[in-house]
């Protein structure tokens, strides 16, 4: 196994091509759930968890159901979108049920974020990118985890800034999402500084 390549995939997904700040995936929860640090942390962990599982399962769906190794047929063009979104929706439901039964404490903390995850475009985005980039199973999982970590990192940074923004004097028309977008712009600008990391 090529650990160097896995490392590059991880660094690239967390910092250089951060899902939220460079690829614009998962903006809705990024702005919607970043008012409080606690809820941001809960959402972030839930996303990492589902993203990793989704990367794993959709990879199997793609390579054994949609375009099986025998090469007899290839349904990618027709059914990929539907198959992936249904897989994710079912996965989220399943995780919710299992968590409720087996880990009630964790469910209490993360439960309310789970339904929101189905329509989080970062999840579907990660699974589609895995296939588009021709990642193998291990690479897909690593990409899934690091994309989730990148998302959580951006979300937590945003949450801690916004908690302070609450008490700041912001022009009236900028209150709420508008100033959050300006903050996101500055954050994204500073993240472009990481672009040198994958140069060599």
């Amino acid at each position: 196994m090529d650990f160097g390549r896995l490392f590059v995939i991880a660094i690239s997904a967390i910092f250089v091509n951060n899902f939220v700040l460079a690829r614009f995936l998962g903006i809705c929860p990024y702005l919607g759930v970043s008012k409080k640090w606690d809820s941001a942390l809960g959402m972030g962990i839930a996303v990492i968890f589902v993203m990793t599982l989704a990367s794993f399962i959709t990879w199997i769906v793609q390579h054994f159901l949609l375009a099986p190794p025998s090469g007899k047929y290839d349904l990618t063009d027709i059914l990929q979108t539907i198959a992936f979104i249904l897989t994710i929706a079912a996965l989220v439901q399943f995780v919710e049920i299992v968590m409720k039964k087996a880990m009630p404490d964790l469910y209490k903390a993360l439960g309310i974020y789970l339904p929101l995850i189905t329509t989080n475009c970062a999840i579907l985005g990660v699974t589609l990118l895995n296939i588009k980039n021709d990642y193998n199973l291990i690479e897909s999982i690593v990409f899934g985890i690091s994309a989730g970590v990148g998302f959580t990192l951006a979300l937590l940074m945003m949450a801690s800034i916004r908690e302070r923004l609450e008490s700041a004097k912001v022009p009236k028309v900028f209150k709420g999402i508008a100033i959050a977008l300006i903050v996101a712009a500055l954050m994204s600008l500073s993240f472009t500084g990481f672009s040198g990391l994958i140069a060599e």
């Binding site: 690239s12 690829r23 063009d77 027709i78 059914l79 539907i82 672009s195 994958i198 140069a199």
Partner: protein, 205 residues
């Protein structure tokens, strides 16, 4: 239990109808979609080999290349598919060259680099102003080839080098895209590696 059955049947029906509709539509547009996929590659091969009369395709050990012959049946050049990871995507290029590695033309067929930076490798320079619609002014046509790609034409693959200042005449220097050194370097690396492998393969025959 009765409810569960109802749920399952409803969802099954919805999914079945959807799959049926999609397969029907796909059978109508399949040819068109596949033609488009091939067209990009074929157009690129014809472009980089200056419209050869015949093309022969080779594919071995992950190296994909084509041999072009002109009307008289004389060998006119190779086209080779070159790939390298860029900043945020894999850059795919088809490069045409002759047997000693001098590039004829190149064409980038796929990339998803940052818009405004790396993606400029596919941007064509324009001289048409939006005001021309009002003033009715006609302007001379400019080169339809992206300026970044045009730099490669006629250069020897071994001498290719990325530089930040305007390149010297007659050298193998390629001027980097503003703010996108990684993407520019990747394009050059892809072509160097692709043509290198091709010549090695052909030389050993």
């Amino acid at each position: 239990m009765k409810d569960t059955m109802k749920f399952v049947i409803t969802l099954l029906l919805v999914t079945l109808i959807s799959a049926f509709v999609l397969s029907f539509l796909y059978s109508k547009v399949q040819d068109k979609i596949e033609a488009q996929k091939k067209a990009a590659e074929n157009d690129a091969i014809n472009f980089v080999l200056d419209d050869p009369a015949e093309i022969e395709k080779f594919e071995e050990d992950g190296l994909k290349y084509w041999k072009g012959t002109d009307k008289k049946g004389v060998f006119s050049g190779y086209a080779v598919l070159c790939e390298a990871p860029g900043f945020s995507s894999t850059i795919k290029i088809i490069a045409g060259c002759n047997e000693d590695g001098r590039i004829i033309k190149i064409k980038i067929i796929d990339q998803a680099e940052t818009p405004g930076l790396g993606a400029n490798m596919e941007v064509v320079q324009t001289n048409k102003y939006i005001w021309d619609f009002i003033t009715g002014k006609k302007r001379e046509a400019v080169s339809p080839i992206p300026f970044f790609q045009e730099q490669f034409f006629g250069k020897s693959y071994g001498e290719l080098r990325v530089v930040k200042e305007p390149p010297k005449e007659g050298s193998g220097e390629i001027e980097t895209l503003t703010g996108a050194t990684i993407s520019s370097q990747a394009a050059v690396d892809a072509i160097k590696a692709g043509i290198g492998k091709l010549l090695e393969r052909e030389g050993s025959k």
